[in-house]
Symmetry: C2
Subunit: 230 residues, 2 copies
């Protein structure tokens, strides 16, 4: 069977977290965020990982690669998130061990505690024929939209908060990012890039524990989740 | 000066939290959620509180009232949240100590850790002339909107997540809830009710610590926040 490959985007600086460690290397329960991510991905059925890091940090990530539960390697990201994904896709295409992969999951390293079930649901949707499958959560807060004249309540029952990993047919994701690069499109995530090609995006249930660690408060919450599992 | 009154909505069952204690009485760091709320409101400048509770629970809330940092009393809520607010407004109007209040802040008891600064910003906006002022946060997740044919990305830069306390001119809030009741309007919060009358809503910065405790994970997060303050 073709391997399921994860592209783990770990090139963020983490300036909002404070400190000068790259965000993906910030420790949670004694291990880097990206290591937690690799464990969740592996537990959910991912076979191999390509970690997209900032240039020059290969030595810093060497321990993460050595300790990964699945074969992993690092590639360098670009200026924008989409450049990082493009570089990761190019590395997959050029790697004899990965080039047979039909599916790619793009994951934010900072969503360190992604449960295996979420990863599994994304992969199952792809195996079931989805070209793109993303985990989402209902939006529980009242949401307002700022308008030209003020703001107005939005019908939150129609809104979904998007998480990662986002799963794709690899060939479609490549085409999508090529289109985004060629036409200089602004997209907020990979699903939006694939949508720009005209493909539908399948929604699967996410999980609040897959929260993205961005600010110190998120790290505090992630630590509380880890403790609750202990 | 007229007192600033808070209507603390504490009539929720808390079934999503598990257990059979009303949500507002669930303990956080050894005290009921609603007691934490009263402390935040008091610290932010609220002078008096009317707590809207489910009928029959007066004895259960007696300790909360006795321990409140500001004078507080309970009134019974109705079937829907807006009935609860209407009952609370009627109690304020009928109370000689409260009837002079020009401003009312409506607060969810489950937003237990609302920082004093958030309360203060809402009150300051009202004193500055706002008819309605609500705390909001930027939306950090990518948001999709489910449509008739699938889903599509929404421009999150225009979205705001709404918190409480929501502050109002008391007479306008009364008129708004009367309109909602008379015309059987569906509104998700008090700001939307006031908007239905045609008044603008002023947005002030909220705070992530004012999270609403709804599920066990929220209680876990709230506990982590309390510990981080210790």
């Amino acid at each position: 069977m073709e391997p399921v490959v994860a592209l783990v985007v770990a090139a963020g600086s983490g300036s909002r977290l404070g400190g000068d460690i790259p965000k993906a290397l910030r420790e949670l329960d004694g291990r880097p965020l990206v290591s937690h991510s690799l464990e969740g991905l592996a537990a959910g059925g991912v076979d191999r990982a390509v970690i997209v890091i900032a240039p020059g940090l290969d030595d810093d990530f060497a321990g993460v690669v050595a300790g990964s539960p699945i074969p992993a390697r690092c590639v360098h990201g670009g200026a924008e998130r989409q450049d990082s994904v493009l570089n990761g896709l190019a590395a997959i295409a050029a790697d004899p061990d990965l080039a047979a992969a039909r599916y790619v999951l793009v994951h934010d390293a900072a969503r360190a505690l992604v449960p295996a079930d979420v990863v599994r649901r994304v992969i199952e949707a792809l195996i079931g024929g989805a070209v793109a499958a993303i985990p989402v959560l209902p939006v529980v807060d009242t949401i307002r939209e700022v308008t030209a004249t003020g703001s107005a309540t939005v019908d939150r029952s129609r809104l979904r908060a998007v998480q990662t990993p986002q799963g794709f047919s690899r060939d479609v994701l490549e085409l999508a990012h090529q289109l985004v690069a060629d036409q200089d499109l602004q997209v907020t995530d990979d699903a939006a890039a694939v949508e720009a090609l005209g493909y539908p995006v399948v929604l699967v249930p996410g999980d609040r524990e897959a929260l993205k660690v961005t600010e110190p408060l998120d790290l505090l919450f992630a630590e509380a989740i880890v403790r609750s599992h202990a």
